[in-house]
Symmetry: C2
Subunit: 96 residues, 2 copies
């Protein structure tokens, strides 16, 4: 096994999309700049309005834990939470 992929599906409230995207525009570069165990972290829209997917890749479980414990994720994640219309769906994928 090599690496861990994550597909995070986030459903955003209709009137919060601009705010959500603005917070994410801070979060994504902070992840890439400060997490040596992260190799990819990017936000995408889907075909369904208000539904986003974040594609992520980490070296190992320790890198995933470091992401979740990071100051930038905690601080900016707290701003993302109120934009969401439901709990995030997280699919964790072992790398081949």
């Amino acid at each position: 096994m090599s690496g861990i992929g994550i597909i995070a599906t986030l459903r955003v409230q209709p009137d919060k999309k601009a705010e959500f995207e603005a917070v994410f525009a801070e979060l994504a570069p902070a992840v890439r700049a400060n997490e040596p165990g992260n190799s990819f972290y990017k936000l995408f829209r889907t075909a369904e309005a208000g539904v986003y997917k974040v594609l992520e890749c980490y070296d190992d479980e320790a890198a995933v834990a470091a992401h979740r414990a990071s100051d930038h994720f905690r601080t900016l994640g707290a701003k993302l939470g109120p934009c969401l219309a439901g709990a995030p769906e997280i699919e964790s994928l072992p790398g081949v």
Copy 2:
């Protein structure tokens, strides 16, 4: 919009998993080494046996087209096809 993400879901025949993974082990580095418009290309297992997901990211539609037209994708893709148990599902995601 910035970039195009792709989640390709591939269902592999039970007795073809090793062959599929071996071909992919050639394909992934060829994509990363030869496609300047590709920024991520990695194979993952899922929770369902024999079902894989490829997470991909390209700069733009021209880079996606260049991927599909590349010699490495055509040559190695021809070896992947017989390993599959059905048509790939391709989800294309516009970057935010």
